[in-house]
Point group: C2
Chain length 161, copies 2
């Protein structure tokens, strides 16, 4: 898809990089992210995995969570994510679940790999079948999980997301 990159997109992406740089000296990993709409910044975060002992505390996840808290919704359709580096599979999943419309980034997964991060490997692992992965993925066939979806379908107050 052809994307028209505006001056403001470059400016906000540079802000994400600035956050990543500042974050390193605060003990964070080398990543920064910003959520914006029509060029207006809603939330920002650096990576806080080590400081918060939370493996999910990537810059993108935290920026998404902060934007959702501020806006009072789990849906960010129409919002853009700016990330200093291409989002990892976890953050990409969060982008899809949040409904974010556009993602702009500077470095790529290969650059992250050279700096010692697993992003590229994790993309490969996600693309193969569960049985082939390095981590054990085991479906227990004689335990039936589908009663959960049956109750969900019957539950009239359910809110789809």
């Amino acid at each position: 898809m052809e994307v028209r990159i505006k001056k403001i997109d470059r400016k906000i992406l540079k802000r994400a990089i600035e956050i990543a740089l500042d974050g390193i000296e605060k003990g964070g990993g080398p990543f920064g992210a910003v959520i914006a709409k029509n060029g207006k910044i809603i939330s920002e975060s650096n990576n806080e995995v080590v400081n918060s002992t939370d493996p999910t505390a990537h810059a993108e996840i935290l920026a998404i969570r902060r934007a959702c808290t501020l806006l009072g919704t789990h849906n960010l359709t129409g919002y853009d994510l700016y990330a200093s580096c291409e989002p990892c599979p976890m953050c990409l999943g969060a982008v899809y679940w949040s409904g974010i419309s556009r993602v702009f980034y500077a470095s790529g997964r290969g650059d992250a790999a050279k700096a010692g991060f697993g992003d590229e490997l994790f993309y490969e692992e996600l693309s193969i079948s569960p049985e082939q992965r390095r981590i054990v993925f085991c479906r227990i066939n004689d335990v039936d999980g589908n009663e959960v979806f049956k109750l969900w379908e019957r539950y009239e107050k359910r809110i789809r997301y």
Copy 2:
């Protein structure tokens, strides 16, 4: 990889399903997760996306975060995840980042798709190149993100994760 499934694995997986069922009536999505080690449960969670207006509040993410808070570490190597349904790409990414050793699950991504969830589609989207995806993914080539990784490599107090 051949996995020996023990009686305790089935028991904990059934607990994850029970959490998912209870979660529906608390306003959560139809998913439950448990973190355990050697059959001992460390943390549990249902899906809280809608109630907490947080698109990342999947059962697996919350169970991982809780276990890490309780244990005071971002690293869950040696721990197992039991999920009522095959983890989505976001949660799978969290599994890799956390270092979890084994994942057991009951329903599959196809079952989640039939119940109206995007897991299967998101797996497809993650496997293709950023330019081909439904959401706009745009690398801005003339903004250099690599100064972040250069600072990271020079930063002596960095903690790799």
